[in-house]
Amino acid sequence: MMLKWVRKKWNYFAIAALLIFLILIPFDWFLSRYTSLMIIIGISTMVTVGLCLLMGYTGQVSLGQAAFYGLGAYFSAVLSKTYSLNPWLAMLIAASATGAFAYAVGYPIFKLRGNYLAMATLGIGLIMWILFNQLSQYTGGPDGMSGIPYLSIGGFTFDTNFKRYYLVWFFCLAILFLSQNIVRSRTGRALRAIHGNEAAAESIGINVNQFKLKIFVLSSVYASLAGSLFAHHLRHVSPQPFDFLASIKLVVMAVIGGLASIWGAIFGAGTTRFLSDEVLLGFDKYPQLDIIIYGLILMLVMIFMPEGLFVAIKSGTLWLKVNWREMPSIMKRKRKEWPNQMKHIFSRLLLIRLWRKSEP
């Protein structure tokens, strides 16, 4: 009886467990040494959610999301430090300015058909990175600018990692929750319809261009909010975290998290950030190793799990739950098929067909 009830409400339990885990992390007796990493993961998750909505649900690839992330950070930094505006107001202005910029850029792009967005956003990413570097009287050039004030509410200042952790994850979970609601609605269906078939989507009355533009602006606003939090967290912005590699990293996060799953974004951002900030930091002999690793991950995930790592793991556990009784016989069968399958896969990977005779 009890077990049945637990199984029925499983989703709520999973969410509650996740929440408790997240709340406990910054305490000293738990995982407090990961607090600053978790803040960065939360910020990355916010950008990744936007990218999931854009890439996974609407099918529009953006290779310049770091530009909007950087725009948010720089707007916040410049407005709150140089012009000493209230940080919250600066954050709001940053988000709306970035949204307006995305609208201005997206409006002409979405008049075209096909994957022009990827090309255009690639360009925007590079241009923005150059601007962050070159407009040194505002942005401080390659060295960046520091001394950005902390966020504060009333007299309460977010001046320690412990406090900022809760602030960032509040924003992050709010965005996840809102996005989840958007996905399960008329709007979400329209977005998925655009991904599924544009001609058909238009034929049933969905304004394809408008929806693409709206979701592009929404994802840029998410990125901008994350950038603002990033600026007020580190109190220092420099162009380096917003370069082309950062955009690629964000795409990797979205892909690992499973493009068509909102909650996968936490997983994607978590694994990628953990890899780059904890694991790969040990290999400081090979400073460019992470580029190779990301490329490899992107390639392998796209070949073997086109739905993303998160979704693959989820469906894998579901499969195990159904088939665990037959595992021995399945293993036996698999052991026979395995070598042949591997040969086939490797031959595809190594492009053996290139120097083999063409098939009859």
């Binding site: 809102l178 996005s179 609601n181 958007i182 399960r184 609605s185 008329r186 709007t187 979400g188 269906r189 329209a190 998925r192 319809a193 991904h195 599924g196 078939n197 001609a199 058909a200 989507a201 238009e202 034929s203 049933i204 009355g205 969905i206 304004n207 394809v208 709206k214 929404l218 068509a260």
Partner: protein, 280 residues
């Protein structure tokens, strides 16, 4: 005699030098089943695409319910009354895009089914209700009660169309996992879910077996009884002759004949178009 739901006047479409539709005058009566037939390359699908707004005509006019889809009234309504209409004259001259025609009440299906492969069967139909609901990003994000009620309504309507097609037990399946016959039914259900006044069916019978075709013709009759005007392009002559109350024959972009099934079958031009002209 009621007003025809769709009229085309002198409608032409040229792709470069090729004239796909050549000065076609059509009248499609409200509440009837009209078939457009013709040999391959006669311009039937181009005509459909012109009506649905995928292509823009080179010349001529399309009237829907007596209103031009070019100077469409409600297109003018979308411009706020206070603004100077002269500035938007150019906009009024433009052709209404596909999605606006869908909200006006022109629905269509495709020759190649074009379902949304990333959704379930039910969601495909629910997407069809897009123009009949209006909640946006903001409503969805904070789940307003208004939006929830609307969502329930959409679900209810979609289930109605689902059951009409007899796809009830496949509701939660992926749309592309259905066999072709049921996929075609699903595409029709999705088009019906937009609650159209006119539905354009592009080769609904292609790839179906005899039994499925009989079911299809029953279905089309039922759609007509719902008060929806049906226009279909079809190659299967027995199906067309048994179903259509009015038949329009196109050949190389021109209308060569129209009439009831019996009239068209006797028409010399039609026989010539299908079997080749006699040498004299």
């Amino acid at each position: 005699m009621s007003q025809p739901i769709l009229e085309t006047k002198n409608l032409s479409k040229a792709f470069g030098g090729l004239i796909a539709v050549d000065k076609v005058d059509l009248t499609i009566d409200t509440g009837k089943i009209t078939a457009i037939i013709g040999p391959n390359g006669a311009g039937k699908t181009t005509l459909f695409n012109l009506i649905a707004g995928v292509y823009q005509q080179t010349s001529g006019e399309i009237l829907f319910n007596g209103k031009s889809l070019k100077h469409s009234l409600w297109y003018a309504r979308s411009i706020k009354p206070g603004l100077n209409k002269k500035i938007f004259k150019d906009k009024l001259q433009r052709h209404a895009p596909t999605h606006m025609r869908a909200s006006l009440g022109i629905a269509r299906t495709f020759q190649h089914v074009h379902l949304f492969g990333n959704m379930t069967v039910l969601e495909n139909i629910m997407t069809g209700q897009h123009t009949r609901s209006r909640s946006g990003f903001f409503d969805a994000a904070i789940r307003l009660p208004k939006m929830r009620r609307e969502e329930e309504n959409i679900n209810l309507n979609a289930t109605k169309y689902l059951n009409m097609m007899g796809l009830g037990q496949h509701a939660r399946q992926n749309a592309l996992s259905l066999p072709l016959g049921q996929q075609k039914l699903l595409a029709i259900a999705r088009a019906l879910a937009t609650e159209p006044k006119l539905i354009l069916l592009d080769e609904p019978g292609a790839g179906l077996n005899a039994l499925e075709k009989r079911e299809l013709s029953d279905l089309i009759k039922r759609i007509r009884e719902m008060g929806i005007t049906v226009v279909l392009v079809e190659h299967d002559m027995p199906l067309v002759m048994g179903l259509a109350e009015w038949i329009i024959v196109l050949d190389s972009g021109q209308k060569i004949a129209e009439g009831t099934a019996a009239q068209v079958q006797k028409d010399r031009k039609v026989i010539a178009a299908y079997l080749g002209e006699e040498m004299e």
